[in-house]
């Protein structure tokens, strides 16, 4: 098991900690059995052609910028925080989902490292920045996210942060998420959560009837679900407060919307603060929904209530699900998404009677931080529904996706991250991106998702028109090659 150590400033990257991969092609079953219980033994493959990846610093920011009363300082050149305004937008437009009537402005800063700082060091600049941010914002906590430049020049960010913390009397957390450290940008989530776990969360004062939900900014379905059992969700981290994070240790348990996101924090809360973490991967598709709720009932001692709840949900939704299956039977699909959530989408497609033709999943964690086989979403999907052909681990390499889609031409493309639907549409394939990560959860989610899939397949006029007029920069040669031609080289 990965041992959480909150005494260290940095958490190890996923490649090392979990043996995670960014390159694989085969079938889902092959991947599951290749990785079965042998984290780190499956050798990663790299590519001799590659396109722009995401990096850790943006993902760390994703976990930190939406905390209501914290400030974030990017210690780097101004470019390393230039996409963070998107989180400010998210915060503003989704605040109502957490009943926040007056969303406050996000406080995002750059130390603006320049050439001379790369020579003389940027520590002084960072010190001054922290004081200025404190004066300007009076935040409850300050997070410093590091960048390639600050990492390579070797600024001692940890010492600066600790000194500032002593001076200002609020948590000042160095968050180590330099882009070049990891090919898996979700390592940045771990970095953000590590900072929270070591600097913000405190030991519990008392246990309370709350359940930690590690998620993004999706709809508030857990409020209604947990209410049935006498609990309230404690959302982590978007729309949380420094205070609500501090006492997340008082929760009865922790659940995750996606194990790729919350793996590390779930384990940290369990190992360092005694909050049990639900092992089963999230409730997408009937099999997994039942399993997940039953484990929830077991931990809360509410087995009977859970059975009643599931019975009610089945009565209400099974006829609707059956009707959708009739309409969607045999329709083909292709999935591109982050790990775990992508596996959940595959389960959902099978549950709706559809035929996944393949998937491009951004990375693969052979095991999560809790070391439990129950948490392996892909393994559940394969054993519940069967194999998935053309299963590719591909960190947003558009050229491979274009090549594959061009061959497979599914009835629908399901995407989870921005930029990927464009190519479905250019090829005339109806494409659907659902931003709300809770949208497909549970019985109601299956119906909602199914309806959206149906709608997307039916309303294909736009993509069919776009296909006729779209521009394609890829060569004819490339589209005729095997999609994984550049995978497995020496670089």
């Amino acid at each position: 098991m990965s041992k959480v150590n909150l005494d260290l400033p940095e958490v190890e990257i996923r490649e090392i900690r979990l043996g995670s991969l960014t390159g694989f092609n085969g079938t889902a079953k092959e991947l599951v059995s290749a990785c079965g219980g042998c984290a780190g033994k499956q050798k990663d493959k790299s590519r001799s052609f590659s396109q722009c990846l995401g990096c850790g610093t943006a993902q760390a920011a994703c976990t930190l910028t939406l905390i209501q009363d914290a400030a974030v300082i990017s210690h780097g050149p101004v470019g390393c925080s230039s996409c963070l305004h998107e989180f400010a937008f998210t915060y503003r437009v989704n605040a109502h989902l957490r009943q926040i009537e007056h969303p406050t402005q996000r406080k995002i800063f750059s130390t603006n490292l320049e050439e001379k700082d790369t020579i003389y060091g940027g520590a002084k600049k960072l010190e001054a920045a922290i004081r200025e941010v404190y004066e300007r914002v009076k935040p409850k906590a300050i997070f410093i996210i590091t960048t390639c430049a600050s990492g390579i020049i070797g600024d001692d960010v940890e010492s600066v942060a600790n000194a500032a913390e002593a001076e200002l009397g609020i948590p000042v957390a160095a968050t180590f998420c330099e882009g070049f450290r990891s090919k898996i940008w979700t390592s940045g989530f771990d970095a953000g959560y590590h900072a929270i776990a070591r600097k913000i969360i405190k030991q519990p004062r008392e246990k309370r009837n709350i359940i930690n939900v590690i998620n993004f900014w999706g709809s508030d379905i857990f409020k209604e679900w947990f209410d049935e059992f006498g609990y309230e969700p404690n959302y982590i981290t978007p729309f949380s407060t420094v205070d609500s994070l501090t006492y997340s240790s008082e929760a009865a348990l922790t659940i995750q919307a996606c194990a790729t996101l919350g793996s590390y924090l779930g384990a940290a809360l369990e190992q360092a603060y005694g909050v049990p973490e639900i092992r089963n991967s999230p409730p997408y598709g009937i099999a997994q929904t039942d399993r997940w709720f039953r484990e929830l009932g077991q931990i809360l001692g509410k087995e009977k209530e859970v059975e009643e709840f599931l019975k009610r949900k089945k009565e209400e939704y099974l006829p609707k699900i059956e009707a959708l299956r009739e309409k969607l039977k045999g329709k083909t699909a292709y999935v591109t998404a982050g790990a775990s959530h992508g596996h959940s989408l595959l389960a959902l497609l099978y549950e709706l009677g559809m035929k996944p033709q393949g998937a491009a999943i951004f990375h693969h964690d052979p095991v999560y931080d809790n070391d439990s086989r129950d948490a392996d979403t892909l393994s559940h999907t394969v054993s519940d529904y069967g194999d998935v052909p053309n299963y590719n681990v591909c960190n947003k390499q558009e050229f491979e996706l274009v090549n594959v889609l061009n061959r497979i031409r599914p009835d629908i493309l399901l995407a989870r991250h921005g930029g990927m639907t464009l190519w479905g549409a250019k090829l005339g394939v109806p494409s659907l991106l659902i931003g709300d990560e809770h949208f497909g959860m549970g019985y109601e989610g299956l119906v909602q998702y199914g309806e959206r899939i149906l709608e997307t397949i039916e309303n294909d006029e736009f993509v069919k028109n776009l296909e006729k007029h779209s521009v394609n920069p890829y060569t004819k040669w490339w589209l005729e090659q095997e999609p994984y031609t550049f995978l497995g080289g020496n670089f």
């Binding site: 722009c52 943006a58 937008f89 790369t118």
Partner: protein
């Protein structure tokens, strides 16, 4: 030499990869850490073009390249770029990682150059500068390393009526496509032939090859882009005409066009002045027909319209909009904020251009890239009447706090989609009027 920046309104040097994306069928190749491309894509949004965004090749520096250097990986990525993507020009841009570890990028691109490939390299380490500055570095690299290869068939200043235009920075100016199209249309109306160089109305790399042939260059900018026209002056002896802000509306557009005509006379361009003047007169007539019709609304609408404005933008827009709004809509410019990190030596001229807007009022101007600090200042200001804030998406929150109208015209902004709209020129002025008053009218529900 700025310190802390809150709410940045521009990005770092590698952001000038968008300058490459704006050239038809050109591709930027990033020799950088992972994430640089994503940051730039996230800053500009909807800015993929032909082969930008997720399509751009990138070496995605890892620990291994930081320790051992990344030139081998770069070679492999470039080699395979030719197999995978169909492009006319490849520009290798470098990130902080490559810059700090000191990779010799030229030695790699030279290998492809020797094979006759249209490849260029330019250092754009994020810590070096910002995208306002490095736009010029990218353009000059293309001129020095690519355009120069075609000098024999494109003799310097050999086409009397041909001009090169350097104006909007692609994507950083959200209206770049529309503005460039409008500049081209106006200058052609005067009788010039125009190399506009970026966007769908340029002729791609063929047009770039003909840059030396132009008689002179036109720079529409207070400071960014000036190193380009200076480079061309040295290289091909081309003089340049500079207009220091975005000409918006009739007064400023006519001033700009007359300025170009005067300059052209000195260069012996053979422009038919009478025809050119007639063109200007006709454009003005069209413009004032609209303003004349609108005046009643501006003067009589009795339910409230914005009366004063704060603008947060780069020097070109702050100056252009300030001059336009006062004289052509009557909205009074109050404190104005230039957030493009203007180099000191250009500040006094910009201040003078803004001061010249009016001989009877003071228009305070503040230069700082720390837009968060600017917002705090505006929070503490109090002017009578209904206010308007023109800025980036960040400023929508400020406008709401102050109960002001808000118009999104600057990066970054998730609140507005701009396709081919232009703000420059006569028609641009009319569009600004439509946008401001439609925004105000939309508040009446």
């Amino acid at each position: 030499m700025a310190g802390l920046i809150e709410q940045e309104r521009y990005t770092c040097a590698i952001g000038a990869l968008q300058t490459v994306v704006a050239i038809p069928r050109a591709v930027p190749i990033l020799h950088s850490g992972p994430g640089c491309g994503t940051m730039i894509k996230g800053f500009f949004e909807r800015s993929t073009g032909y082969a930008g965004g997720d399509t751009s090749p990138c070496t995605n520096f890892s620990e291994r390249e930081v320790v051992f250097g990344g030139t081998d990986r770069l070679r492999s990525i470039i080699k395979n770029t030719y197999k995978v993507l169909d492009t006319d020009l490849q520009v290798v841009v470098t990130g902080c990682t490559a810059g700090i570890v000191g990779d010799d990028v030229a030695s790699v691109t030279d290998e492809f150059l020797d094979e006759g490939k249209p490849i260029v390299h330019v250092e754009t380490s994020g810590f070096k500068s910002n995208n306002y500055v490095s736009h010029s570095a990218v353009v000059n690299a293309i001129i020095d390393q690519y355009v120069s290869r075609f000098e024999e068939e494109n003799e310097a200043r050999s086409e009397k009526k041909l001009v090169n235009v350097f104006a909007s920075i692609p994507y950083q100016d959200q209206f770049w496509k529309g503005n460039l199209r409008e500049y081209k249309r106006l200058l052609e109306g005067l009788g010039f032939k125009v190399n506009i160089l970026f966007g769908p109305h340029s002729g791609g790399v063929k047009e770039w090859q003909s840059i030396p042939k132009a008689n002179f260059n036109i720079l529409i900018s207070p400071w960014y882009g000036e190193p380009i026209v200076k480079n061309l002056q040295r290289k091909y002896g081309q003089p340049y005409y500079k207009f220091g802000y975005v000409p918006i509306g009739a007064n400023e557009t006519t001033r700009f066009l007359n300025g170009v005509l005067e300059f052209a006379k000195e260069q012996d361009c053979g422009i038919d002045e009478e025809k050119a003047k007639a063109f200007i007169a006709e454009e003005e007539r069209d413009y004032y027909e609209e303003l004349d019709n609108l005046a009643t609304f501006l003067l009589e609408f009795r339910y409230g319209l914005p009366t004063h404005v704060h603008i947060l933008h780069d020097a070109g827009y702050v100056t252009g909009l300030t001059r336009f709004l006062l004289h052509e809509t009557g909205i009074v410019p109050k404190e104005q904020y230039i957030v493009d990190n203007t180099p000191d030596k250009y500040k006094s001229q910009i201040e003078a251009d803004i001061k010249a807007t009016s001989d009877k009022r003071e228009i305070p101007v503040c230069f700082t890239p720390d837009a968060g600090a600017v917002q705090n200042e505006i929070r503490n200001l109090n002017h009578k009447g209904r206010g308007l804030i023109i800025g980036s998406g960040w400023d929508k929150e400020l406008a709401k706090e102050k109960d002001y109208d808000f118009l999104s015209v600057a990066c970054p902004t998730p609140y507005r989609i701009v396709l081919t709209t232009n703000y420059a020129g006569y028609s641009g002025g009319l569009r600004v009027i439509e946008d401001i008053y439609n925004t105000a009218l939309a508040t009446y529900k």
